[in-house]
């Protein structure tokens, strides 16, 4: 924790290096580009701006799952690829999606579920259905799958639903590359602020440097939040200043009227 700054406008030091480091993230590329990307660097981490492609996930699980789980997953993926769409009250691939946690283990459940959704070529309608019929774990996997499966903004209601929760696991998944591409400025700023409120590290916010850059309104919101924390005698999250640095170069609009809502 660090001491808050009085106003965002007081910031003068440059953050260009940081922006260059992260601003050219490939997370905004088309899904087909993600497919062919080399898997070397970050299939083991959720802490980078870069999202593993389905091919990355498949390689990772092939290496890490035990024999029984690997066999189960291969069957599930073949089945989903052969029989996508809706079949009866619960399609077989939706059943596989539900049971992926106990079949593959909690550590690999997200990846397995993203692969099943990908194999079933789930579109916005199917993703919406399984999201709203899913457990928190299944919902998280749907959010992770969005950048691979939905090209337009049609699945934004799922992101917005997740952002209304206070479950940090859902919040973390909601602020991925799909949100970076499609979330409107107001909603995106509130997503960043919610991460700060709930302690979701902002390194999970995809494409943060690009979207934060020059965002005076975000800077204003961050400054007000810092001031509110300071007035209450509380520390200011380190991440707040980090994001504030990324907004650099724009003076916040003065005198903006704004409510202070309590999250709950």
């Amino acid at each position: 924790m660090t001491q808050p700054r009085a106003t965002p406008a007081a910031r003068t030091d440059s953050t260009q290096d940081t922006i260059q480091d992260r601003g050219n993230s490939d997370s905004a590329q088309a899904p087909e580009d993600a497919e062919t990307r080399d898997a070397q660097d970050d299939t083991h981490s959720t802490h980078t701006a870069r999202t593993p492609s389905p091919a990355d996930l498949r390689r990772h699980l092939t290496t890490h799952l035990d024999e029984a789980a690997r066999t189960w997953l291969e069957h599930a993926l073949d089945e989903a690829a052969a029989h996508p769409g809706i079949h009866g009250p619960i399609s077989p691939w939706e059943l596989r999606l539900a049971e992926a946690g106990r079949r593959c283990g909690a550590a690999h459940a997200d990846a397995a579920r993203v692969l099943i959704l990908h194999a079933a070529r789930a579109g916005t309608d199917a993703l919406t259905r399984v999201y709203f019929q899913g457990t928190a774990d299944e919902r998280r996997a749907v959010l992770h799958a969005l950048p691979h499966l939905v090209s337009g903004p049609g699945a934004l209601p799922l992101v917005e639903d997740a952002l209304r929760t206070n479950d940090t696991r859902l919040l973390t998944a909601a602020v991925g590359p799909y949100a970076a591409r499609h979330l409107a400025p107001h909603d995106w700023r509130h997503a960043v602020l919610k991460c700060l409120f709930t302690g979701v590290p902002v390194e999970h916010v995809a494409d943060l440097p690009r979207r934060a850059h020059g965002d005076g309104e975000l800077a204003r919101m961050l400054g007000d939040y810092a001031a509110e924390r300071t007035a209450a005698g509380r520390t200011v999250p380190e991440d707040l200043n980090r994001v504030l640095d990324l907004t650099e170069s724009v003076t916040p609009a003065p005198g903006t009227d704004h409510p202070h809502g309590k999250e709950s």
Binding site: A98, R102, A107, Q133, T198, V200, P201, R234
Partner: protein
């Protein structure tokens, strides 16, 4: 003392309870779906409740280092309301979920034909989904209810060794045990069982297939009753292995029949980095935010404000 409370309604409890439970040794709970006090009027209301049992509540529990699973069912009381019965058709979608470790609470309330139908239907669903069943026994006309429950299980596709018959007492324990089912006892401040009677039953019937729960809910109840039974067992001459069997290994064995029990709460990494239940770290970093524990503190770093 490690404790698994096999029947507790945490949606009705506060974070103070989670804190006190962790401090008392509770590391795992099963939350059966049940009546909410206020009657529901539609399947939609059940769906939201089931979703909470599979979403928000396990998240809340994980904040306190407690593994949370649930059982899903149409409860006996609301099985009598025709507006609620259609939820039976939606249960299969829930019974495949990872965190669902049994069908329950099912059983009898007033022993009506509607309850007969719901019980039989849901015992079959348990058999179909490879799940055990948690069966509530009625508050009124208890022994007759127990007998009818045992008959219903016998007529079902579910073997009795995959059934936990709950809320037993001195009048019902023998016949329940003879049926081959697992034996559940709810220890309450005033009603059902108390610690002394519980220990007497353990002495008379042994610890095999016996589970003790607090069944704490929105009524007068105590989420620490499991610990109090463990303490009294030790004071009355049972050893630590007996206590561990009743308060940990038996519930693990019963719900483990589902093949879905995952007692590792470290799978919720994000909750350890952030927190949306605790509404901010204590203002003074030296101010304790936890009661004294008997083991390591849950691995969480409360930093956020909600």
């Amino acid at each position: 003392m490690r404790i698994f409370d096999p029947h507790i309604h945490m949606t009705s409890r506060t974070t103070d309870d989670y804190e006190a439970m962790y401090a008392a040794g509770v590391r795992a709970v099963v939350e059966p779906s049940f009546w909410l006090g206020q009657p529901r009027t539609s399947p939609a209301s059940f769906r939201d409740y089931f979703d909470a049992l599979l979403g928000w509540e396990p998240f809340r529990a994980a904040q306190y280092g407690i593994a949370h699973h649930c059982t899903i069912a149409l409860n006996p009381k609301e099985a009598n309301d025709p507006r609620c019965v259609p939820v039976l058709d939606e249960l299969p979608r829930y019974l495949v979920k990872d965190n669902v470790v049994a069908v329950g609470e099912i059983g009898y309330d007033s022993m009506t034909p509607a309850e007969d139908n719901a019980l039989a239907t849901q015992l079959q669903l348990a058999a179909d989904h490879g799940l055990p069943a948690l069966v509530h026994t009625p508050h009124r006309d208890k022994l007759a209810g127990l007998r009818r429950t045992v008959d219903a299980v016998r007529e079902s596709a579910l073997p009795p060794e995959r059934v936990l018959v709950d809320h037993l007492n001195e009048t019902t324990v023998k016949e329940a045990k003879d049926s081959g089912s697992w034996l559940g006892f709810s220890v309450y401040p005033d009603t059902k069982m108390d610690e002394e009677r519980m220990v007497a039953i353990l002495r008379a019937y042994g610890t095999e297939q016996v589970l003790v729960n607090s069944a704490a809910d929105w009524g007068r109840s105590d989420p620490l009753k499991t610990r109090k039974v463990g303490d009294l067992m030790l004071a009355e001459g049972f050893d630590e292995d007996d206590v561990d069997r009743v308060l940990w290994r038996n519930p693990v064995a019963f719900y483990g029949l589902s093949g879905r029990l995952n007692l590792d709460v470290t799978g919720t990494e994000a909750t350890h980095e952030g927190n949306s239940v605790l509404r901010g770290a204590p203002k003074d970093p030296h101010e304790p935010d936890f009661g004294p524990g008997d083991g390591e503190e849950p691995a969480r770093v409360p930093v956020a404000e909600v």
